[in-house]
Amino acid sequence: MMPLIAANSLGEYVLESLLYWKLPGNESIAFTIAALIHVVLILTFFGVAPLIFIWLERKVAGRIQDRLGPTRVGGAYGWLQTLADGVKLIQKEDLCPAEADRMLFRMSPYLVFVASFGAFIALPFGNGFVVQNLEVGLFFMLALMSLEVLGVVFAGYSSGSKWALFGGMREAAQVVSYEIPMAICALVPVIATGSLNLVEVGRFQAGGFWNWLIFQNPFTFVAFFVYFTVATASVKRAPFDLAEAESELVAGFHTEYSGIRWSYFFMAEYASMFAVSGIAVFLFLGGWYDGVHIIESMDAFVAREGCGWLGQYTVNVIGLAIFITKATSLVFFQMWVRWTLPRLRIDQVMMTCLKYLLPISCALFLGATVWPLFLYSLPMTAGQTDLRPYPMGNRVYNAKPAAVKPADKSDSTKHPAPSAVIIKEGSGKEA
């Protein structure tokens, strides 16, 4: 029994423990407890991650502008600065302008918050470390993150201010157009794996870093950069932060907000940055795998020595650390871009999306679909093992999706995992 895997198995684990200790309880209670554990875990992450990212943002901004950034609160590095800001924001008066539509004005921060938080339900943090291991995990995350725009638009509309209205309008136009190339780019690695389940996409990339989907074929390589650009735009980060655009619109859609409601927008923004970076890590950069066989060796060791669930759990925690490191570096990269590049004009933003990114992503999608067929059209030398990718994706099949033991664990004793070999050498042969 391994705790902290998908909610179903944690629920079963809780149920078994209740029965074992002869405590009162049935299936419903066990699953409620499991759900609560997960909610508390992600809510903590959802609160702590923005805390660190906002501090990081200020430090990065400071360093790029040849300043120091926060230095006072919490020692030399000012690492408690965001917490101090949070305390200040909670104390502020909850203002609502007289012109505003009160109900919508008060609701919209929650809408943004819930949409951003909901996406974390399907985001795996490691091998099976996921609240709900959905078969359509990627689709679910993209769908929920597309709801964030509604909160922003409502905030802009209900504020009763022209700055906010312009910010909301720009946001709606921008996000609705950028959603299309984002979804298409996310499909390019999905074609290679044949699965929308992010855990399965992660398992698919076991082995060396050359097994990562970004190196799968030329199209996924380009798709990563296009996806990352579009994802930066979809979380309204500079150079695409037209909805805020401080130099033109005061503060855009959140001009009228103050105090804790204002901070909800920012928590959601930073959490979404992590979420899109997490998707990028799973779709292109090997998920929780380190790329130099460390996780795989530990998996093999645990399987060989029979360390039980504790050993497997430790490996998963290391995988979690690797995943968070990767995703945080992408977030760091987004900050770096923000403080380096100037903001685009709204027409330039729309042109970049509709005239360049959308055709590019469509071409990548088409290319990724045709690539395996192209490989099949090439002649093969006799005696060579057929390692070419399947047109419908080389999915890692699990006998039991809810099984406690990851499917590739037994495979990874012989490096690299056979499922991973299938494709890699196929594309390597062509290069």
Binding site: D101, S146, L147, F154, V176
Partner: protein, 206 residues
């Protein structure tokens, strides 16, 4: 009451409450907000039924797509802030009649189904099993168990009428209403395209 049933009632109540609030609100954007609540809760009902894909598609298409366009349209076209929708009593009366007719239609089609026969047909004539082992589709669970009675009925085969033992006449299922609805959507699309084009054609002549 199990946790599943409790969640069902919560989601169902939120769906209905949101829908009623849509009707009772006059502000168009607030209506959109209540529609989000209602559609989101119905997506929750889909998730509760293990229909993850349908629930996600509901969120993406209706909430994330249609509603954003609706709010965007209101923001672009509204002459003043917070545009209200004034309904005259006559319109209210007419809309009420249509709504109750639709309710009657939906209610009668739900009541006309012999649910025991549906269960018997999907479980291949076997008696009702324990809840966990109930088969919801025609094909086996190993094969995905995807051929569900409702989908079959849309294709023109009603399990309770056509597969029950001793049936003589075959029904058409819901094939005709399904096709009418799709043709209706096509008509709406063509009409919208026509309206959009006609306006553009007038302008150069002026």
């Amino acid at each position: 009451m199990t946790g599943h049933q409790l969640l069902f009632w919560v989601f169902a109540a939120v769906t209905c409450g949101g829908a009623i609030a849509v009707v009772l609100t006059q502000n168009v954007v607030r209506m959109a907000f209540w529609l989000i609540v209602s559609l989101g809760a119905s997506a929750g009902l889909f998730f509760l039924l293990n229909a993850d894909f349908v629930g996600t598609a509901q969120l993406l298409v209706y909430v994330g797509g249609t509603l954003v366009l609706l709010v965007f349209g209101v923001m672009l076209t509204a002459s003043g802030p917070f545009s209200k929708m004034q309904t005259r009593p006559g319109e209210l009366f007419l809309a009420g009649i249509v709504a109750f007719l639709l309710l009657g239609l939906l209610g009668s089609s739900v009541c006309s189904v012999n649910w025991n026969a549906v269960v018997a047909a999907t479980n291949h004539g076997q008696p009702l099993l324990a809840r966990q082992e109930l088969n919801h589709g025609y094909n086996k669970p190993e094969e995905g168990n995807t051929g569900h009675p409702l989908g079959m009925a849309f294709l023109g085969m009603r399990p309770d009428r056509d597969l029950a033992p001793g049936t003589k006449t075959l029904s058409t299922g819901y094939l005709l209403p399904f096709e009418i609805a799709s043709v209706h959507l096509l008509v709406v699309l063509i009409g919208a395209a026509y309206l959009a084009r006609a306006k553009r054609r007038v302008q150069p002549n002026e």
